[in-house]
């Protein structure tokens, strides 16, 4: 069943709103059957590139295009115009739905185009299709990968049977045109419950003030998003009932900090990825996940192969698009997440991305493991660990650190650096201890809200 039909089935859309910084819409208005049958015919069966400036326009279009289009590619922000021709070719796009012009249109001169405004008025499909949803993952380099999902797979991890608590308002630091944000959009719409959209470039404190004013009850982001939020003066005004982290390793330091900030909230860290879909959610406040989750459960199988987490379920993506794209899953249907894990007693811990390993004279060092230790130091807000070329060992480890109180507040930076190194030495193998530290005023995040890692 397509998105619009699912919303209609609920009926009770009273008070359910979709809002951003400048506008607020009743969802019932957005999905009430518009009369534009001619537009529906123009969109029916097309493979559509949905390229909007902001998230609100994308949300409106998604509600209408699901069921009409054969395929819908959600273009995330930050894709360079020169990458578009390859994306259009690989995804076999034959129609552009957009509210943008300029470079975007100039790179795609031959592609037919309909405005989002016009498309959003389309009548529902006479014969609804199972629209393919395509997400573009932001790789660290090169062209984005195009990941094909079905709506059934995307919503497979969402409990649509339960009625949301009254007054539920979702919001997320994520952009809804990427997997994590799309999950929040779909959770809200299928609830149904209200959703407050974030906005690119909006200062964290401004966004959090909107979150507090709404008031948002369910707030989601990456651990990096949350570390930024906890440094904001606006954090005290928030009173979420549900706090969720995903997209990066949730270490004990951030889980404890959130517990202290929101003593009454449910705090969950979830494991999900664009390719692997929603894996599982942990709510016991401890880093890692129970070893009991490995194996088969209803709807999902989790295995550790070659040290990385593998997932097989109906919630994983189906395949990559493009003639040069490799297979998304192993022949037996398992998706390799690339996330390295280790079993310690009854707990499984994330070590980091298999691609991010630092080789210190043959000793493999996972940046995330070192960051986790540094982040436990009371003065540290967050750390980024990276390789530093070294003529003796090939590479050694160095770290950039964002302090809670800013480096200006530190009376003796050298002493603090020595203390952090001593803290690392007490908790890490000697090859993993950073050779050098620097205090920085900012650690950049990727457009997806993850700590930006320079390719090594």
């Amino acid at each position: 069943m397509n998105l619009r039909a699912r919303l209609h089935r609920h009926g009770g859309l009273d008070g359910v709103r979709l809002a951003d910084r400048t506008a607020s819409h009743a969802v019932a208005e957005l999905v009430k059957a518009p009369a534009d049958r001619e537009m529906a015919q123009r969109l029916a069966g097309r493979s559509i590139l949905l390229a909007t400036e902001g998230q609100m326009a994308a949300a409106k279009a998604m509600l209408v295009l699901d069921g009409l289009a054969r395929r819908m590619l959600l273009l995330p922000p930050g894709i360079a115009p020169e990458q578009l021709p390859a994306i259009v070719r690989d995804a076999e796009i034959d129609l552009l739905v957009t509210d943008r012009d300029g470079p975007l249109r100039e790179t795609l001169p031959d592609l037919p185009c309909i405005t989002v405004q016009a498309a959003s008025g389309a009548a529902p499909a006479a014969a609804p299709l199972a629209t393919e949803w395509v997400l573009a993952t932001s790789g660290t380099s090169g062209a984005p990968k195009l990941v094909l999902h079905t709506l059934e797979g995307l919503v497979g991890g969402i409990n649509t049977a339960a009625t949301p608590e009254p007054g539920t308002v979702w919001s997320t630091f994520y952009d809804i045109r990427r997997y994590g944000g799309l999950q929040v959009f779909l959770r809200a719409m299928l609830g149904p419950a209200s959703l407050l959209l974030s906005e690119a470039g909006e200062p964290v404190s401004d966004y959090l003030r909107r979150v507090a004013a709404a008031p948002v009850t369910h707030l989601l982001g990456t651990p990096s998003h949350w570390r930024m939020a906890l440094m904001s003066s606006a954090i005290g005004a928030l009173s979420p009932r549900y706090v969720r982290l995903s997209g990066e390793i949730a270490d004990q330091a951030i889980l404890d900090a959130l517990r202290a900030a929101f003593p009454r909230a449910r705090i969950a860290h979830a494991y999900a990825s664009t390719e692997g879909g929603v894996g599982f959610t942990v709510e016991d406040g401890r880093e890692g996940f129970p070893a009991g989750l490995i194996g088969s459960r209803a709807g999902i199988e989790i295995a550790i192969r070659g040290g990385t987490l593998h997932i097989r379920s109906q919630r994983t993506a189906r395949r990559y698009l493009g003639s040069e794209a490799g297979p998304l899953m192993d022949p037996d249907g398992f998706v390799d997440s690339g996330d390295r894990v280790a079993l310690r007693g009854d707990r499984c811990h994330f070590l980091g991305r298999s691609s991010g390993m630092i080789n210190v004279g043959g000793v493999k060092v996972q940046p995330e493991e070192v960051e986790t230790v540094i982040n436990r130091h009371p003065s540290v807000s967050m750390a980024r660990v990276k390789p530093r070329p070294n003529p003796i060992l090939g590479a050694v480890v160095e770290a950039e650190i964002l302090l809670h109180d800013g480096q200006e507040a530190v009376a003796d930076p050298a002493a603090l650096k020595a203390a952090i190194i001593a803290h690392c030495r007490a908790h890490l193998d000697r090859h993993k201890v950073p050779v050098s530290l620097s205090f920085v005023t900012d650690l950049p995040l990727t457009p997806g809200g993850k700590l930006l890692r320079t390719p090594s």
């Binding site: 210190v360 004279g361 530093r388 070294n390 003529p391 003796i392 060992l393 050694v396 190194i421 030495r425 000697r430 090859h431 050779v435 050098s436």
Partner: protein
């Protein structure tokens, strides 16, 4: 602090941090015969680079490989002069 004094100071710091027992640091000392291992060397090179901006090991000929502590100090001395020239 002179280059020699800095180098010896760093070696002492590193060996203390790494829990290495070292004989007296004389010019004749053959470092590789002590507990000063490859990680200690790597740390030393990185710290000297941080302090003086020089890394003689990155462009080293085999014949120049330092054997004794005195060789190592001489290597850094040459590198720092070359850098200053």
């Amino acid at each position: 602090m002179s280059l020699r004094a800095t180098l010896i100071d760093e070696i002492e710091t590193i060996t203390r941090d790494q829990g290495k027992a070292m004989p007296p640091l004389t010019d004749e000392l053959v470092l590789i015969d002590t507990e000063f291992d490859s990680l200690c060397f790597a740390l030393l090179v990185a710290r000297m680079e941080d302090r003086f901006g020089i890394d003689p090991f990155s462009t080293l000929e085999i014949a120049d490989l330092p054997v004794t502590l005195g060789d190592l100090i001489a290597l850094y001395d040459r590198s720092s002069l070359a850098g200053a020239a």
